[in-house]
Amino acid sequence: MLIQMLRRDFRRKKSISIALFIFISISALLVASGSNMLMELTQSLNALFKQSKAPHFVQMHAGELNEAEVQKFASAHDLVEDYQVAAMVNVDGSHLYLKQDGESEEQSVMDHYFVMQNESFDLLLDTGNKPVRVERGEIAVPVYYKQQSNVSIGDTIKLSDGAFEREWTVAGYVRDAQMNASIVHSKRFVLHPSDWAALSQRTGEMEYLIEFRLKDQGMLQQFRSDYQAASMPSKGPSVDESLFKALNALTDGILAAVIILVSLLLSLVAILCLRYTLIAAMEEDYREIGIMKAIGIRPKTIKNMYLLKYSALAVLAAIIGYAASWGVNALFTSNMELYLGSAPRSLPLLAVPLIASALVCAIVIGCCKLTLRAFDRVSAVEALRAGTLGEARSSGKAPALHRSRWMPVPVFLGMRDVLSRFKMYRLLLVVFIISTCIMIVPVNLLNTFKSPSFNTYMGIERSDLRIDMQYSEQVTEEFMRVSQTLTNDADVERFSPIFASAFQYVNSDGAMEEMAVETGDFSLFPLEYAQGRAPVEENEIALSYLNGKDMGKKVGDRIRLHVDGTEKEMTVTGIYQDVTNGGRTAKAVLPFLPDQVIRYEVSVDLKEGVPVRDKMEQYAKSFYPAKVTDLEGYLSQTLGNTIHQLRLLTAVAVIVAILIAILITALFLQMAVAKDAAQIAIMRSIGFSLPAIRIQYVTRALLVLGIGILFGTIVSNTAGQSLAGLILSFIGASSIKFVINPVQAYAGLPLVLMAAVAVTTLLSIASIKKTTITEWNAG
């Protein structure tokens, strides 16, 4: 009898067994790929940092540099293992032609630095992770441009500022541990030393990277304080290795996290499917189980029979999923390989994905065991008498037909069935909720990233145009000129300058540390604050989320800031989100001290009807070398790579969600139709037409889907939003609010899902045509 039951179970459950197999396989595949991605990310990042000998502390400096003074500091400091000053020529985008169509990089938000290969550390690597070497007349371009602008080997890169003109042939790509990521607005191009020397004398602004490798990285904070306390050159941001790593890992790290999340959701679907299958099997075998119990067969034997079948299925599926992950890993890691290189093969790289797949398998088997506990509740007498497990018993609370005044009977029956047998529809509902989440969360996240209001998370105010001026000898004069022009321009509605200056503050250990503080009138272009408000008074300061977290400060706390030689006690009035400048910025209303300004930003709103693009081009010419961008352009260039990856993921997620919904709907309805055969036969015999019965099933599926979409949307916009916020908090955006495209999220996607489910329903219940009372009575 046992073997007979098992054989029958397999025969009857052929399609669901296959579906379970597929789910567990895909789940194992995704969890293996996701964990492989995380492992590769860690390992290739470490390999890149090792090969390039990335500096531990870097101070960017624009302006005059007293190298002897830096050398003196470095040789006297105990922590310094090695140091170097890397000179860079900052070439204005309007003079640089990367694309072959003759368009310059004028619109680019990137700073283009032309450099020579460093000798001892901070090596710029080629795609084989070897230090890049170029001959005269050749250039190596950042991998960013290979991906974004399709710059190929053999292309010609032109530089022309009117007086100086030079062309180089692209000989390779640069992997740059410091400036790889698209979110970093600086990119390094490598030239032959003699070409670089010629260039540096003729064009561009000279800037420096003052770089240190330390003997003990744990003492980085101490070193940073010492550097600042020694009044070393600091006209520019200072960055460290942990920030480089975080920025490098950002895009692929998010992708890996999302893949693992999708895999967990799929595991959940597989577990629910398994539970439903087991309950259905138990329902059908209830009488046999009762008989076996009655004649003294131990329930454990019966339980083990099912457990064996589904464990074998789970193990096989997990093995296949893991094996298949080898095939798809390349797809997920291609971006990472381009930017970071491939990780060296190692035991953890093989073992971790295997363990992750095994874990999925173990969870499935564990849940199978839990479900099978229901066997213990089967009483022999009850089973023989009732013949039902009670899982799908009517709830009796559903509305009565005779009270319905207008609803068409098939729709009513469909609806009533869902309400009266809700337990049976739970699986379908959970799957629909999951499908909706899988679809909506990435779509909303993508829309949030694409939205112009993403500025909220970048610490920048919303404006038509943005003018950026980096430090140079003439920056203050240039700023005055820009200010004057904007004041006199009748097309300008309003503008607000912000100056970023480096200030020292007393940290929690009592030591002095430096921090970039933006000063200006924050009321003209207000920024949305995560907590609190913008600073208004002179003793008020707002911190970026990561800055606040690092400093352990919240709204209402105090900070001791050194302003123009005197210590001021500032109160934190607000926390805002910022993913730029390493996520560590501050805003305060402080006096304008031109000597300390490291950069100027001007937000400009134009009068209505003034074409933004034309104005942007006009300003870009007249305000040269300041960088003029519209907000959308700024965001798309900064987040372009992330948006590109996210778009890919969203497309995959939408397809996966629809496929899950289709698959489960098909399986569920096939089982439901088999279960309802008698009822269908009765309805047909008393005059229900096939369309009338089909409407009932479509109503059931769409009603459950409707509830699923409703809950799925709520879950996506609450838990999904929090989850996205949690992932993004690592880069400085703590409380993401989804920007929802209502047409897409509330109409388009639900309609696509509904259409898919409705069509699937109609196809899955095709067998009702064969269900007649004659067959039923005969059978």
Binding site: S394, A400, L401, R405, R684, I686, G687, I773
Partner: protein, 255 residues
């Protein structure tokens, strides 16, 4: 009297798993007139139920023709046959066949709401009055698990009557009931027939058949004989005498 249902050379063939053909109905010629109460009897496997399903359009005949109310059933679409069953025919089965998740009242009004001949309020009232006539008015909001077999069969009869059909088909309607319930159900059906509804039922039971006007006897897929007992009048006729007459006739046929 006008002919309501007529079959000519009606045949039905089934193909078994090993491709062998079995002819279950063999060239059946049959006429049922309006207002008649007809029983089909015969041994198990003689094709009684198959005949009922084929002449009611529930199953497709392999050959011959069936006319109902002047309309040819063979060649009708699935939808047309459904409409016909819904609006002009009523069915009662041995296994009762009510829908599980509905109350007894809802089971009765179901087809009426589908047919939309009257307002829903009017249909509810009609259903209640049918339940009252059948002595089950107190069970309107009961679940099908809360009624006895006899009570459920009365519900099935109410369901069959709700759309005021021209004809009711019964497949062993008393087969699953005890003799008391079976007797009551037959009284109810006789009343319904007296009010003008044509009834054809399949039965094994002489007591059931004795209350009908005409009894057809089937054997091996053919109608071999018939017995016209005439309309049963409860007050005037001796039911036992009808039963005995029928038993003798059946014995002569080897039943």
């Amino acid at each position: 009297m006008e002919v309501l249902l007529e079959s000519r050379a009606l045949s039905k063939t089934f193909t078994s798993g090993n491709e062998q053909e079995y002819q279950v109905l063999k060239a059946i010629d049959l006429q049922i007139r309006k207002g008649e109460f007809v029983a089909v009897m015969g041994p198990s496997g003689s094709g009684k139920s198959t005949l009922l399903y084929n002449i009611s359009g529930m199953d497709q005949a392999s050959g011959g023709s069936v006319k109902f109310g002047g309309m040819e059933l063979t060649g009708m679409s699935e939808q047309e046959l459904s409409d016909l069953r819904l609006t002009r025919m009523g069915f009662i089965f041995q296994q009762i066949h009510l829908l599980k998740n509905l109350t007894l009242l809802d089971n009765i009004i179901l087809t009426a709401y589908m047919a939309k001949k009257q307002s829903r309020k009017g249909l509810n009232d009609r259903a209640m009055s049918l339940m009252k006539q059948s002595g089950i008015e107190g069970l309107a909001n009961h679940d099908i698990t809360q009624a006895s077999g006899g009570q459920l069969q009365r519900v099935a009869i109410c369901r069959a009557l709700i759309n005021q059909p021209d004809m009711i088909f019964g497949d062993e309607p008393t087969g699953a009931l005890n003799s008391k319930s079976a007797g009551e159900i037959m009284e109810l059906l006789a009343d319904i027939n007296r009010s003008g509804t044509t009834i054809l039922l399949v039965t094994h039971d002489v007591k059931v058949a004795a209350k009908t006007d005409r009894i057809l006897f089937m054997m091996d897929g053919s109608l071999v004989d018939e017995n016209r007992l005439g309309k049963y009048r409860k007050e005037l006729d001796d039911l036992r005498a009808r039963e005995e007459k029928l038993t003798g006739w059946l014995a002569g046929l080897g039943f």
